[in-house]
Symmetry: C2
Subunit: 344 residues, 2 copies
């Protein structure tokens, strides 16, 4: 099976995506085709044997073959006409904007391209932390208390410090800060508002247990191990950045079966049907034996490969079980009947 | 000002979009460029003086110039190279799928095209009637009670007849039915499930007042008149279809100032910032002097032109006040620092 990996794009997490893509080279046993989307959103075919981070930071990739996205896939110019870059499925590995906000899924759906990754609706819901909360509550999964603040509105903050401040629509810990007392509020808000016009505030619960669970649905649910990430207070972007190149297995969290079951139930409820076609990672908090959703990562760093016993099998199975769109029949029933009535 | 109108696409409302596009020819005083997206999602430049519904139903449009969407706009092939189809702004007039589900907005945002229409997040929220409810409740706008049913799950219905059954993600009254007593449930569900894997059920309130209000935000809010649609029990697709070609002014609803203010307040709350860049129509119910949101139409039929005193001014002003995206700076800060640390 040939897998195309699309990465990069106009995102604050562009570099993370590059690192994520390179990490998969060591892991995937499939044939890989690398399709780079640069900051200007131009696509390039990067030779798999020549992929390294310097190729992108130096601009050397601009000598690689430019690609055009159209019906059926990516095309490269030939002396006469064009040829399709053949691959069986594409992994959308663009973290953050473009990849996780619904743009790339929309492009792929519009042009009839088979891909692993969240669809547009799931993207919008996981990309916007407020929508994630509303959705989780609706399907019966617990979330922490929260408040949304907008840049241009002055509103009183209803949550007492310590609290955590997050840009509403960014991942990878970018712009996140912890407010321990009121003196730190202005600075934390300034930082977060640099990245977004809205921020989410949540109580910061010291010492609360956090667990990560990744998975997808093929003909059945395939789950990763449950990881208890080793964290300092929280991982900021610099620390988390290195985390995205991970390819080594982590230690499984020691949790009892009941708790693991609760997490898997919450995962399934959140996943099906909204995230069909994607391999997602859910980050949970556990408070007094109850599971709370922290975040949904619909395109986790290096696809959370290090959490799976057999990552290659998961990717192969998922490729075979991608959701299909209903085809709208091409018809002009109403127009024809009006024309008939008019005697045209 | 030159306005491009994109219409058609892979949508159950394709024909409505054709009718909507043709209706605007009589109304808009701007130069119009017609860009048709056919059921196969291929774009064509339709000569403005030759636009009529038969051109599409007969397939004659296939003789018109094919267009390709790329950075900066739509391009047509010339003997040597390509040329850009120049226009100042595009109106996304694709009703239903592709246009209102976030695909076309994503394409336009990805390729840097200036357009009137909902952005991807607003599209997803208004396209899915459950998300509309969750969003409206969150921002403090009333909605009717509801229940979502899924095709493959057997769940008891908690709402007593009479109730209305709607496919979760379709507009223009397609697949909608009223259940007056329990004997009608199976049929109504079968019809709705033909169009979607999920349906929304709401109590059917006989004789409740319904009002439509359209508008957009430029440097200030521009509102239409409030219309009280003349309806039979409800408009089904066949009846509503004809409604989309409307270009004549309607009669203003006779309502008191307090109620009108309440509707405008609800509209503003729902609109800003989620629908910036779009001209939307909100359909409200009024029950015991309180305003309830029924639906948000982010691309109303023929842009609800018939509700505005000066529709051309509204379109001109809106074109000048479209939201802009934050540009992510192209940088390789982390990759460079890692390379430096490695001594590469």
């Amino acid at each position: 099976m040939k897998i195309g990996i699309v990465f990069g794009a106009q995102s604050f997490e562009h570099e993370i995506s590059v690192v994520s893509a390179i990490a998969l080279k060591k892991i995937l046993k499939h044939d890989i085709i690398y399709i780079f989307c640069d900051y200007q959103r131009e696509f390039y075919l990067i030779p798999t044997d020549k992929i390294n981070s310097k190729r992108f930071s130096s601009g050397e990739y601009k000598k690689d073959k430019a690609l055009t996205l159209r019906h059926g896939g990516f095309f490269q110019k030939k002396t006469f006409g064009e040829s399709l870059v053949e691959c069986d499925v594409i992994i959308n590995l663009v973290h953050g904007r473009d990849g996780e906000d619904g743009k790339i899924s929309s492009l792929f759906d519009f042009y009839g391209i088979s891909y692993i990754g969240p669809r547009t609706e799931g993207s919008c819901i996981s990309y916007n932390k407020l929508l994630t909360k509303l959705y989780a509550k609706e399907v019966g999964v617990n979330v922490l208390a929260y408040q949304v603040l907008y840049k241009h509105k002055k509103e009183p903050i209803n949550i007492k410090p310590p609290f955590i401040v997050k840009p509403l629509c960014l991942g990878s810990s970018i712009g996140i800060g912890i407010v321990k007392d009121e003196s730190q509020i202005d600075y934390a808000l300034d930082v977060a508002f640099e990245f977004d016009n809205a921020v989410l505030i949540e109580p910061f619960l010291q010492g609360v247990k956090e667990y990560n669970l990744a998975g997808c649905k093929t003909d059945k649910f395939l789950f990763s191990i449950v990881e208890e990430p080793h964290k300092e207070e929280f991982l900021d972007f610099d620390k988390k950045y290195l985390d995205f190149s991970r390819t080594k297995r982590v230690n499984e969290a020691t949790i009892d079966t009941t708790l693991e079951l609760k997490m898997k139930e919450a995962f399934q409820t959140l996943y099906d049907p909204l995230f069909l076609g994607a391999l997602i990672r859910c980050d949970f908090f556990v408070i007094e034996s109850e599971v709370y959703l922290n975040e949904i990562n619909p395109i986790p760093g290096s696809m959370a490969n290090y959490l799976f016993d057999d990552f290659n099998m998961v990717i192969t199975e998922l490729s075979k079980n991608l959701p299909s769109c209903v085809t709208v029949p091409a018809q002009y029933r109403y127009i024809n009947s009006i024309q008939a009535a008019k005697g045209k």
